[in-house]
């Protein structure tokens, strides 16, 4: 009845007094308050209530899964997988699904902002913004300009590399928390050492009949989770006659481990030894001479050091001997050790022993992505520390940051924040007001992934070379104001963002001279076309086009370009076995009775904390929502007098972090684990936590909201206690820290989906 009222003035009413709304609800439609009026000035076809679908690529991680986004009336409504993209074949992970909440996140940077390192926040227009970028480029000697970029948005990386080359600036450094926790550098180094080429190995999970995973959490965040999950499913149930068997070695039961038929907890850092021991047992069982690689290990000794029973090792070896296509995967925390590289090599050697290189269900080398000359792996932690020392030394005058949040993602001990202080000018292209953006001089907000052009290389995850394409699915986020008298709607742009590529191109044009020559493009799209143009001639493509414009159109329509047939390279197994692998137990830094095992939260990933629905997703193994927890084995906790929801202080040589305890029945007694992803001090209202009292009345704009001192961290960041220790490949030895655990006496009740009564039998008198 009171439809007009509720439609027009509802928001006012909602804030004015809910009592009125109660009445409205009573006699009016149940949910008319949602403004579903179309944006004004829309083309006619958007009015008839039909959806339009656009193909693009997910930018929540670097895997490059293809998406089909359903849009309606100029809004992106639902993310679906692109069924034809070889990486994900129509599937998506939770983070991909929630990417819309990034696009429509209320905490996006509204306009180019003069941040002044958080001191003086004032909005500005794009022209002056571009002027500032141009000056930064022009007024500094090229060698003093540095670019720090995330693992996403490859086209921007290419553009910046070209720019850097042309003007003689150092090549951009790429980095991401995921690449740090995945130890990509270690993997590619191991591949280089053993397989002869520095590339991502590809593990053909789908066709293996028994899989040994040494810490590789490929169902969560590792490399290309969706692709590997598909492979896992095929391994399990693809072959109707035989169900694939899966054994996982890790100190804690990760989500991946929870799917294993046998989860074998061991002392962190002994994965390599275990691999070698198994290899030796297999070799002996097969008979013949024990290869050089396994000669040095003594299974019995390994059993005692790693804590894995000898029978178990023998039993596994037996399984491998009987298996048709066994496969061993190194990854995750196993590589984040001082001996990570040798662990990787040991596991690859185990594969070589079972002679599965280049065979179905075996180890391959991922094909290079189209228009890629060589595999550009992200910078290892060691290289980042070098970069930071360069910053400290003051040899960097202007720093451009895009797509990465080092203040949050890097260990405190690297001292990035301090180093930032010695850089005169820091320009951030962040979409969200994250820690790094706030600490920089300017924020020139980039589009969200769903609003931007581009392409994403697929480093691993598909058998074919794949180049996933991005295109804007919506042209910006608008808000509609309604004239209370006439009822006429008018739409305004809510987030005045601009593609960083466009900004750089415009800036170089403005700067003129060699800068203008460096990027001789009208806009971003023209640059992308210049990168695609040589694909036209490529054979065996998913589509072909006579000339570049048609090609680009198809490229966007199909959401990328890929080869029809697999182009997996077969590594040479010859040298692997003869080369001796010197795997010894890992070195642990610092004092303390516990080994600290950080892992990337499966639901949040590296940057999901500002998406409310990812926060609301229960962690697969602990079902904790909206917060950080510390996993401790119940027995250990009992000895320490710690129980659930006790806030403990975790002290390492590098720092201290506080979080609430979750008594986790499936973790090594000598290990405590903690998820990475929470603990933001900025990055929006959902990533930080706000006092309940002000929660419901606080109406100030979010730009002031989050860094206005009102917000305090939600959860804790394990990176705070990580020291600067690296493995042989230069990756961070994040699992190589010893820590002290102290009870603080505080309590913080963790929000769990599970019932502590039903699942742990609390208060039931006896377990049920």
């Amino acid at each position: 009845m009171s439809e007009k009222i509720s439609r027009r003035d509802f928001l006012k009413l909602a804030s004015a007094g809910a009592a009125t709304t109660a009445v409205l609800t009573g006699c009016g439609p149940a949910s008319r308050y949602v403004e579903r009026e179309p944006y004004t000035k829309m083309p006619e076809y958007t009015y008839n209530g039909l959806s339009t679908y656009y193909a693009t690529t997910c930018r929540e991680c670097a895997a490059g899964c293809g998406l089909i986004v359903r849009t309606m009336q100029g809004r992106a409504i639902k993310v679906e997988g692109n069924a034809s993209n070889p990486v994900n074949l129509g599937k998506t992970c939770a983070r991909g699904q929630a990417t819309l909440q990034g696009l429509y996140n209320p905490d996006r940077v509204g306009s180019p902002t003069k941040q002044g390192r958080g001191s003086s926040v004032s909005p500005m227009d794009w022209d002056s913004a571009i002027q500032i970028v141009a000056d930064a480029l022009k007024n500094n000697t090229p060698s003093e300009i540095a670019f720090l970029m995330g693992t996403g948005s490859d086209h921007l990386f290419d553009l910046v590399s070209d720019l850097a080359n042309a003007i003689g600036a150092p090549a951009p450094a790429r980095f991401g928390a995921l690449s740090m926790f995945e130890s990509r550098a270690t993997l590619s180094k191991a591949a280089e050492n053993l397989l002869g080429q520095s590339a991502m190995p590809f593990f053909d999970l789908a066709n293996a009949d028994i899989v040994l995973s040494f810490g590789a959490n490929f169902l969560e965040t590792w490399l290309s989770p969706v692709a590997y999950t598909r492979g896992f499913a095929k391994m399990r149930r693809g072959n109707p006659k035989q169900r694939g068997y899966f054994i996982h070695f890790e100190a804690r039961m990760s989500q991946t481990a929870s799917k294993a038929d046998e989860w074998i907890p061991l002392l962190p850092g002994t994965e390599g030894l275990v691999a070698l021991a198994i290899g030796r047992l297999v070799a002996e069982a097969k008979g013949g001479a024990t290869p050089e690689a396994f000669a040095s290990v003594d299974p019995l000794e390994v059993a005692s050091t790693s804590g894995v029973k000898l029978e178990t090792l023998e039993h596994i070896a037996q399984l491998i001997v009987e298996a048709q296509t066994p496969l061993a995967i190194p990854g995750g925390a196993a590589l984040g050790q001082s001996n990570g590289l040798s662990t990787a090599e040991a596991v690859l050697a185990l594969n070589a022993l079972t002679d599965n290189f280049g065979k179905p269900g075996g180890v391959f080398v991922s094909p290079l992505s189209p228009n890629e000359d060589a595999y550009h792996r992200p910078a290892s932690a060691l290289e980042i520390t070098e970069f930071i020392s360069k910053m400290k030394s003051g040899s960097i005058k202007a720093l451009f940051i895009h797509g990465v949040n080092p203040i949050f993602e890097l260990p405190k001990s690297f001292g990035f924040e301090e180093a930032l202080g010695s850089v005169p000018q820091v320009i951030s292209f962040a979409t969200f007001p994250d820690e790094t953006a706030i600490a920089s001089d300017y924020i020139f907000p980039d589009h969200h992934g769903l609003e931007s052009w581009g392409y994403q290389r697929v480093a691993t995850g598909s058998m074919q070379p794949v180049l996933s394409g991005l295109q804007p699915v919506v042209n910006g986020v608008y808000y509609t104001t309604t004239d209370p008298d006439t009822g006429a709607d008018t739409s305004e742009l809510l987030y005045n963002a601009r593609g960083t590529a466009d900004v750089l191109i415009a800036a170089t044009q403005l700067a003129g001279g060699k800068f203008a020559e460096a990027l001789p493009f009208k806009d971003e799209v023209e640059f992308i076309q210049s990168k695609l143009v040589n694909l036209i001639s490529e054979a065996d493509g998913s589509f072909s086009a006579p000339e570049i414009n048609t090609f680009t159109a198809y490229f966007q329509q199909h959401g990328g370009w890929w080869k029809k047939t697999a182009e997996l390279a077969t590594p040479s197994a010859s040298s692997v076995l003869s080369k001796s692998v010197n795997a010894e137990t890992a070195q642990f830094a610092g004092e303390g009775e516990f080994i600290f095992l950080p892992f990337v939260s499966p639901t949040l990933g590296e940057a999901g904390a500002n998406k409310p629905w990812l926060q609301e997703l229960p962690d697969p193994t602990t079902t904790v929502m909206w917060n950080t927890w510390v996993e401790i084995n119940p027995e250990t906790a009992h000895e320490l007098g710690i129980t659930n929801d006790d806030v403990v202080e975790i002290t390492s040589e590098a720092g201290v972090v506080k979080a609430a305890v979750y008594l986790y029945p499936a973790i090594h007694p000598g290990v405590i684990a903690m998820p990475f992803g929470q603990g933001h001090t900025a990055y929006g209202r959902y990533a930080t936590s706000v006092g309940v009292s002000e929660k419901f009345m606080d109406l100030v704009p979010t730009s002031q909201y989050v860094n206005g001192g009102k917000a305090f961290p939600r959860g804790a960041n394990p990176a705070d206690v990580l020291g600067a220790h690296f493995n042989e490949a230069g990756d961070l030895a994040f699992a190589g820290m010893k820590v002290e655990v102290k009870k603080t006496g505080e309590k913080q009740v963790l929000s769990r989906l599970e019932s502590r009564i039903g699942v742990y039998g609390e208060g039931m008198g006896e377990e049920h």
Binding site: M1, K4, A30, R36, E44, G49, L50, T490
Partner: protein, 189 residues
């Protein structure tokens, strides 16, 4: 005091007063309902009767009704397509608003009208025009005879009873069809 009140209520005058009060409440409610059905102000008083009597088909301006849920409201481009050829466009004061929006140089509209939808079903009703048109329901069956309406007004309250009556009628004795057409899940989800 209370005593007086009691006596007054019992007295004929009191009873009349009570009656009036009750009536006032009812009429207020009825007024509310009628208001919710009145047409909202439009950027331009579009005359349906003229167009319909001139033989313009409904689906010409509202083609969405054939394809999907909403018939769609025409943009000024569509209006201008015809009107630029009509003499009355220059003369009619009512059409000045439209002419004002046309850029004489390009003869293209600079911006569109922001029509305000008149027929609004609540969010929890998922109405789709297509199947109704496909089932041979005429526009005027629900929207009334527009050749007699200067400004469009809802001929009746679009409530559940209105839908159900028609659905039952159409279903007739066909039990299966009735089930489908009176199923809550057909409209509410």
């Amino acid at each position: 005091m209370i005593k007086k009140f009691f006596e007054w209520v019992i007295s004929p005058m009191g009873r009349v007063a009570v009656l009036i009060g009750v009536l006032a409440l009812f009429s207020l409610a009825t007024y509310g309902i009628s208001q919710s059905q009145a047409s909202p102000p439009q950027p331009l008083e579009f005359r349906h009767d003229v167009h319909v009597t001139k033989g313009v088909q409904c689906l010409y301006c509202h083609p969405g009704a054939l394809r999907g849920p909403s018939p769609g409201l025409p943009t000024i481009t569509k209006c201008w397509g015809c009107h630029q050829q009509l003499a009355i466009t220059k003369t009619s004061p009512r059409l000045e608003k439209m002419v004002a929006l046309i850029d004489p140089a390009t003869n293209q509209p600079t911006m569109g009208f922001e029509w305000v939808p008149v027929v609004q079903v609540p969010d929890f009703v998922h109405f789709t025009h297509r199947p109704h048109v496909a089932a041979g329901v005429n526009c005027e069956d629900c929207h009334g005879d527009l050749s007699k309406m200067e400004i469009y007004e809802n001929p009746q309250v679009f409530n559940m009873g209105f839908c159900l009556n028609c659905h039952k009628e159409k279903a007739g004795d066909d039990q299966e069809k009735l089930t489908k057409l009176t199923d809550c899940g057909t409209c509410h989800y």
